[in-house]
């Protein structure tokens, strides 16, 4: 019984069936581990390891310089920016907006910086469903390569106050 003290010696050999199951389970657990380094070696989607400390003021300054340099227009009050492939590109997260709107080229890679000027935010790109955390004080650099053209929406998926559901941004990918 599970509710009474066990017999004096309970350290007994495991029977065949349970041993077999434990072996199978252990092999599966090892595969679960192995997939992560494997994907780092051959996969194209890995969380970035590149992070720098940055103050919100400094980050805002860099991002504003970036916007001024490459701005090509405005859409519904948000600057639209078309940076050259391979360059450092910036997105500012704040209560409650993403800025600027990015125009990117399909198949080209960019060094995307994300950081927050105030609270924690969640960088979530729809419809591809790609999610990263955006923290104040940290400049997170994701090297991204858009693989399909189209219009993408950035939403915030970390609760950031009562206007959380108003936080929306855009990325346009052209060929």
């Amino acid at each position: 019984m599970a509710i009474s003290t066990p017999e004096r010696v309970w350290w007994k050999p495991v029977d065949r069936e349970e041993k077999l199951w434990i072996t199978i389970a252990l092999i599966w657990a090892l595969i679960l581990f192995f997939m992560m380094p494997y994907w780092h070696a051959v996969g194209k989607q890995n969380p970035s390891q590149e992070t720098y400390r940055v103050t919100p003021q400094e980050y805002q300054k860099r991002a504003n310089e970036f916007i001024q340099k490459y701005q090509v227009g405005t859409e519904k009050g948000i600057p639209v920016v078309e940076p050259p492939p391979g360059s450092d590109i910036y997105i500012i997260a704040r209560m409650w907006s993403w800025s600027p709107i990015l125009k990117l080229k399909k198949g080209k890679s960019y060094r995307l910086h994300i950081s927050s000027l105030d609270l924690q935010h969640g960088f979530s790109v729809y419809p591809i469903n790609m999610n990263f955390m955006v923290l104040p004080g940290y400049d997170y650099v994701l090297t991204i390569t858009p693989t399909q053209e189209g219009e993408y929406t950035i939403i915030c998926n970390e609760y950031c106050g009562l206007g959380h559901h108003l936080m929306i941004g855009k990325i346009f990918v052209e060929s």
Binding site: L20, I24, W28, K44, Q45, V125, T143
Partner: protein, 42 residues
């Protein structure tokens, strides 16, 4: 002690566990396939 299949005490549970594991494996690798479809990021 009741005799199970192949000397197993709980053959039914074993079959259920294997079915569970197969489902687990399929869904797990399906998730990798979906991941491979998104933008490259590193």
């Amino acid at each position: 002690m009741a005799e199970g299949k192949g000397g197993f005490e709980a053959p039914g549970t074993f079959v259920l566990a294997i079915v569970f594991l197969i489902f687990f494996i399929l869904f797990y690798f399906l998730n990798w396939k979906w991941l491979a479809g998104i933008w490259h990021v590193g």
